[in-house]
């Protein structure tokens, strides 16, 4: 499990970073999205991987890390997903505006 997921994180990171270095704005957007998957999964993984562990408490119950999933990385990732969406939106619009102004989709505004 861990091996597969960490390999996945590695590949996502490598693809994301590679795209960050590319000259087209669209490539950078895709790269950032890939990188944000990698980072989210990484943070999530910090709570260790649990299969079939209950994420929700019994009513009136008290949970512990041995029986339940770790809620903190999940809470962090949850907000990160939403903020990631907002950033993608912002970047996309800046991209479009920059393209309208400069007539190119190069990251520097000129070829």
């Amino acid at each position: 499990m861990e091996l597969v997921l960490s390999a996945g994180i590695g590949v996502l990171t490598a693809s994301g970073v590679w795209l960050l270095f590319r000259p087209r704005t669209y490539q950078v957007i895709i790269g950032l999205s890939l990188l944000s998957y990698a980072v989210n999964l990484f943070i999530f993984g910090m709570g260790r991987l649990r299969v079939n562990a209950p994420p929700v408490l019994e009513p009136g119950g008290v949970g512990g890390l041995l029986t339940h999933t770790d809620p903190i990385p999940q809470a962090l990732v949850l907000t990160a997903i939403v903020i990631g969406f907002a950033m993608t939106a912002l970047f996309l619009v800046v991209l479009l505006a920059s393209r309208g102004f400069t007539g190119t989709d190069h990251v520097d505004g000129r070829e």
């Binding site: 499990m1 861990e2 091996l3 597969v4 960490s6 390999a7 996945g8 590695g10 590949v11 990171t13 490598a14 693809s15 994301g16 970073v17 590679w18 795209l19 270095f21 087209r24 669209y26 895709i30 790269g31 999205s33 998957y37 989210n40 999530f44 993984g45 910090m46 709570g47 260790r48 649990r50 079939n52 562990a53 994420p55 929700v56 408490l57 009513p59 009136g60 119950g61 008290v62 949970g63 512990g64 890390l65 999933t69 770790d70 809620p71 903190i72 999940q74 809470a75 990732v77 949850l78 907000t79 997903i81 939403v82 907002a86 993608t88 619009v93 479009l96 393209r99 309208g100 990251v107």
Partner: protein, 969 residues
Amino acid sequence: MLLILTLAPFAGSLAAIVFPSDKSTAAAWFSGVVALLCLLLVAGLYPFVASGGVLRYELRWLPELGLNITLRMDGFAWMFAGVITAIGLLVVVYARYYMSASDPVPRFFSLFLAFMGAMLGIVLSGNIIQLAIFWELTSIVSFLLIGYWHHNAHARDGARMALTVTGTGGLCMFVGLMLIGHIVGSYDLDAVLSSGNVIREHPLYTTVLILILLGALTKSAQFPFHFWLPHAMSAPTPVSAYLHSATLVKAGVFLLIRLWPVMAGTDAWFWIVGCAGLTTLLLGAYFAIFQQDLKGLLAYSTISHLGLITVLLSLGSPLAAVAAIFHTLNHATFKASLFMAAGIIDHETGTRDMRRLSGLFRHMPITATLAMVASAAMAGVPLLNGFLSKEMFFAEAIETHKYNILDTITPYVATLASMFAVTYSLRFIHSVFFGPPPHDLPKIPHEPPHWMRAPIEFLVLACLVVGVIPTLTIGPFLHTAVQSVLGDATPVYSLAVWHGWNLPLAMSLVALIGGVILFLLMKTYLATSVEGPPFFRRLEGQRIFERVLVTLSWKWARWLERTASSRRLQPQMRILVFIAFAAGAIPLFLQGFKPAAIALRSVDPAFALLWFIGMICAVGAAYQAKFHRLAALVLLGGAGLVTCITFVWLSAPDLAVTQLLVEIVTTVLILLGLRWLPKRIEDSNDPELMDFSVRMRRLRDLALALACGVGMMLVSYTVMTRNVPDTISSYFLERAYSEGGGTNVVNVILVDFRGFDTFGEIAVLCIVALTVFSLLLRFRPAAESLEKPEQQRIQNAFDDDHPDRKKGDSIAEYLLVPSVIMRWMFPVIGMLTAFLFFRGHDLPGGGFAAGIAMSIAFILQYMAGGTRWVEERLRIHPLRWMSIGLLVAMATGLGSFFFGYPFLTSHAQYASLPILGKIPLATAILFDLGVFSLVLGATVLILIALAHQSVRSPRAQIKAARAAAKETV
């Protein structure tokens, strides 16, 4: 009391700025009242201070770091506070008449009050860090005041120079004060004052001394930093009268006296302070003689007098310190009145050039008399206050304090300098008020309004009274001040006017007579000479300063920018990623990081297959992003889905739900964006055509990307295979139900335990949505994206070819069945949203997920029916939803205040509703409602703003077509 005293000027400053600019008199009155109030407060505190008490006010701010807001007033601080408020009041009265109605007068008074507050802050600070902050504040406000007439290039340059010099000095002083705090172990002024020996014997003493002196000497315009003061004279005269005679430049002296018991008495102190003081004393007086500008003369004379005070402080004897305090007071009185007189002359005649002014006595006899008395005090004529402190200075200069050359030459330099002082005072009076009647002045001179003169009258009267009966007037105040600085070391001193025939008196006489003779000799030369002293004219501090500034801020900065930076994003990205990689890798390497042994235990083949697909998607997206954008987007979505399934697999349903929904929205968003991106023609990716350097660059990028990927993989694998340490998660797991009232711990963390974080986060979302919205308001698509997309064109062409079809029919019929289904999905998704929302506290779901789900419902309607169709039928006000969401979330948080709990404390309870049964009803659900509404609004706003561009574009197209038509005509 002290707090009011410090805050009142700042409050007044804020209030004064809102006066409309044509209500200048009202602003002046208001400032006058504030200054008067402060003065009365200071006066009211005197009895307490006079009895030797130290008034303290402490506001605990960061006691762990020794940083508290401490206000402290002893006799010395009281004296300074008195000078600041009293002269402040007089200058406000004066400025009321001086400032012309065409200037933005409220701004002047606002800045003036702010400066007064900052100055009071310096003298009342009981904490040395706080002192440094107020110190910098005076530098900044004085910058604004000097540059008040910012249309004038001289004012701008002078202001910038003053700020650069005093600001740099202030930063040095700040470091010095922090070092003192480090040595003493406390930033509290009382603690610092009581540990003089510790500081003097510390190995860092010399460093501290130099740093602090840099601050004090730059502020007090001491050689070699004196050059900023004459250039600051382009400020309005009230500013010069206040800042450059009574307050700002005295701040340096204040600091020297304040720290005198702690720092003085060593050889280093004597040499540095003494050399600076003596040079300044002499050079300032010498330069002052040769000035042609009235205010320039006064500026150099101020420099010289400040030098005198500095020399006194360098001597290290208590009596000299008394003289220094006394002279500070006297100088403030006569110099402020002289500046105001110079301002009147400038105001009434239109010039300050002494070569043009003459014979003004017959036009303004009262002002002339006042100015004469004040400059006699400046020259040190008996029966005036300047004489008393100058006598004390002479007496101290004769005394031997240290056996070295500096101490030996002090009396001679002192006599020479005061001879010069007599000369420039005479020159000031003679060239302005006597001689032939003035001709071709810009204005016909006459006496100023009475109230404009009143402040000068008051100050000159003070000079006289103090000069004649010192023991009865200034004596007790001075004694209080001296006592609080020197404590038990207070010497016996006498303020008598007549000490008998002694050496100091003889020196005074020599200076007086010598000064008169010197003036008579130089009179004709001075009446016609050019500005500036002979020999030194070329050696201007200003030129050196400017050259240094140009080198630093232009040449070196440009060089650094050229060599060390780039305006291109790609190299910046490479450097950024490389540094991040190194910052992660180096500590791991140094700590002997060993990745966990890779073991193929318990690999679920299905999971492995899933991630095999995920990796292909990721690499494919990276490969396709350049030429095939749509494919890249689809592959990106694939990677997102794999992530989403991973969350499900690994027991994180909340994340899976949110990820899935966000994935949908992001895809729609980028699809909308793709409409405006250029079509890229598949260029020949021919390896033979590729440049060698391009290939090398790609190889390097690939290496860095792979290194990052492998690094992330190793680190995450190693962490994930270790056992979980005890984290704060257990806390949340234990308390989620008992305190948060919910069983879904993730949601309880978001809306309850860490509700404030979530609140900040939705605010960010709100800001992003508004930014996107406003960026798109002025969106100009690129020229080649203007026309309709290819599919629409084909469809329209098809309609045109068939006479039985109207234009747009095909578009309306496109995906007819799915669009009907999509329309019917709206209530279904609405229901799902409600379901997600209400179960959020106990089961996976919650405001974030519900908000995005609902926005998908709206987007589906747009896709099915088109923008116009939807907006005719649904009321869509995303801005309103967002604001309601933010307000609801905030109101929920504030609500807990009413019950005496901190912000965002939630209250949980279960309520039984008919049909639905028991549902959890924590106040957190209200907060979650806010989150829901805001997320919904933000998402819908972003998507719709982008979608609207297609509706807007025909207009832009028409415009472009018109422009083209015009050009052809």
